[in-house]
Amino acid sequence: MDDIILEMRGITKTFPGVKALENVNLKVRRGDIHAICGENGAGKSTLMKVLSGVYPFGSYDGDVRYEGNECRFHGIHDSEKVGIVIIHQELALVPMLSIAENMFLGNEQASAGVIDWNRTRRRAAELLRKVGLREDPDTLITNIGTGKQQLVEIAKALAKDVKLLILDEPTASLSEKDSQALLDLLLEFKTQGLTSIMISHKLNEIKRIADQITVIRDGQSIETMDKADITEDRIVTSMVGRTLENRYPTRTPNIGETIFEVKNWSVYHPQHPERQVIKGINLHVKKGEVVGIAGLMGAGRTELAMSVFGRSYGVNVTGEVFLHGKPADTSTVHRAVASGLAYATEDRKVFGLNLIDHIKHNVTIANLPGVSSSGVIDDMGELKVANDYRKRTNIRSSSVYQITGNLSGGNQQKVVLSKWLFANPDVLILDEPTRGIDVGAKYEIYTIINKLAGEGKGILVISSEMPELLGICDRIYVLNEGRIVGELAADEASQEKIMRAIVRGEEKAAS
């Protein structure tokens, strides 16, 4: 008989008009790392919100049994009291407060409302050691990277005497190295008897650390497999409900002359102008070519792209940009777009979309002159454009009048792509185009990329997922510490070679 710490039975949750969960069952054994996977919008996060009391008892059907008792949580407070702590994908840290203050937020080390700072710092330091984070507890959150912030979140959970830790896509915004460290940490906690539930898209990670996997599809629990039965193919099949022969659509490259060139590009940090973030980079993209930029988090990939795109990042930017062999003025976003450049951001919610407006307005905003004459918008023309692109990029929505904030991640990404396709650029820079979106939607995005390359556009793809770059690119630049440390053709590239280039670059920088 297994020792079951958590059992969720027949969970059904309906929102007005949609059934988000239907009769979902989940059993988690004590001391396991239990992975939950499924496509975006499958209902994983909803299930976790039911578990943690974000959706209070009574707003769903079915029962939750934890440690053998039936639970009726009315808020996060109730679930935390019994040791269930959830770490959301969007980190809930206050940037201008210190690590220690964040760790004990709402759980202050205080007596009679007066904070005991010594105890706060001591306990914070203790817990930081436990998660292997070497930072002063007084450091402000804003001054540490995303990887370290994730560790602070975990330390914060430990401060609450966590028994069941839920992580919602913990490695989505982490570099390969930080992800590995995080996974090791979870394995270590496991040996100490902590039970974890991890929601993830990354199959290799799941395979590495999970003891059991439950797959959710379209709001239903499909199956639970044991470690011994786990294969990537089986998970994928179960997630999408069909066998996915190839995760990357095939393409016959038809590469022409050089269309885009960056020469001697240097950029300094906006807050610390003495720090050089990009150090004299040269790169080029040819017509019909898909070029990847690999590199760890913090290598300067986004900084490179955004500084080229209208100086949207950095200060003291120097260097030249050429489009079609002629020098191009990309000093403002408007001019960059006008000269045929487009940049689809890695953070679509913060930088990409007006989340309170609908698809139609989001699609045309980068090219309003394309649907207007002398400043007056042609309503019906705009509607036609939006409908066209909705069809072309296969955005799943009730109509183009759906608010983009209510779309799933994959569909939001397609709206961002549509916006830039309508601006009709010659060169597209796609920054993490498939971050946080499911296998099926990824395939669709790759197909769009291939189609654009087929039309003779130059595509530059920035990605943290090496298999993705290897799967879709013709050529890959490896970026490290603001320098290009390697350039590999698709047929000779491999994950190992990319990593080796990065390490070699680091050695060079160190020596």
Partner: protein
Amino acid sequence: MSTEATTATVDASRASARDAMMSNLREYGLVLALIAIMIFFQLTSSPQFQGWLGASMKDGWFAHLSFGDAISGIYPALRDGILFKPVNLTNVVLQNSYIIVMALGMLLVIVAGHIDLSVGSVAGFIGAVAAVLMVRYGLNPLVAALVSIGVGAVIGGAQGYFIAYMKIPSFIVTLAGMLVFKGLLLWLLGGESVGPFPTEFQMLSAGFIPDVIGPWTIVAPTLNAAGNPMPNTGLVLHSTTMLIGVLIIVAMLYFALRSRRDRESHGYEAEPFAFFILKNLVMGGIILFLMYKFATYKGLPNVLIVMGILIALFVFITKRMTFGRRVFAMGGNVKAAALSGINTERLTFYIFVIMGMLAALAGLIYTARLNQATPKAGAGMELDVIAAVFVGGASAMGGVGEVAGAVIGAFIMGVMNNGMSLLSINIDWQQVIKGLVLLGAVAFDLYNKKKA
């Protein structure tokens, strides 16, 4: 098989009728609220109600309570209430015109995610500038008005520069502006009132459009011994006003039908035809009723024409022009807007220039109405303007708001002012009630949105 299909279609159409009604109810909720408030004050300002109230206060609350009397009293009270009397309606328009003019600019400011606390002071200051130019220096009223609006643009531009390019929060910049221009107003007038103005300038607020067609006598008024018409007799309409009313309705119907046809041809249709007809009939009826009221008095006030043109212009800017679209995009997500190639700094700058010009125009209207520039002009006006925009459904977070909403919001606050004065409610309680209405309106709006 076929029965099943028919049932499904019937269900779908019924659902869409209900959907249309619900979405329209939300959309026209403000209009309905305004109408309800107007009817309430029409009833309570009637001599019948006032008589009942007086008697009840004397004899006790239960002495004159009768359901039958209440029902039979509704019609006479509706007929004889003061609120809808043409002279009072005209007054409501004149009293609120400058608030509405500024609310148009404030809507852009608030949708863009900013605020402007200086508009009251700027309006007061510009009124003084115009007064000094016309009264002390004898400048031509039209030239003086244009110079004043130019000064307003410069003031707006100066504040806009600090907000857009120096990135100082608008709250701080315009708070400073509020103090600065309040002070400059006092300095310019030297603590005295300046007036009166040339008649041409007074006409901006006190004038009515000329009846180019000539009066339309429906019932000839009784003449007195001297051969002059006696007041409150007969029915003579200002025919130009009636004609304008009819033209507005025709234009409204034309545009509504065209947009409906456009949408249908693209496969989008939400509201059933009967609903469309009903909606336009009601709107048309309201316009005709108001025009009729104006026509029985002196016709349309000049300032209403100015307001009407500005309102139409701002509806067009926000709904159909790239400028307006960019303002909404910026308010919704300023970073995404900037990365989409929108020059957010320049856009912010222009929004404040427009706000400055409208504040100047409002200042002119206000001063012309008082027929003198006073050191206290404009004090606290910014709060009425901001309240109007929020009552009208704009979001304090930016990105959400409508011109029509702001205008109706201003009228709701204006009619409350007027109605409470008619009931001789003291100014202290008027403030309390207005504050609660503002809070209630926004709370109700948020509650509705949450439910939807």
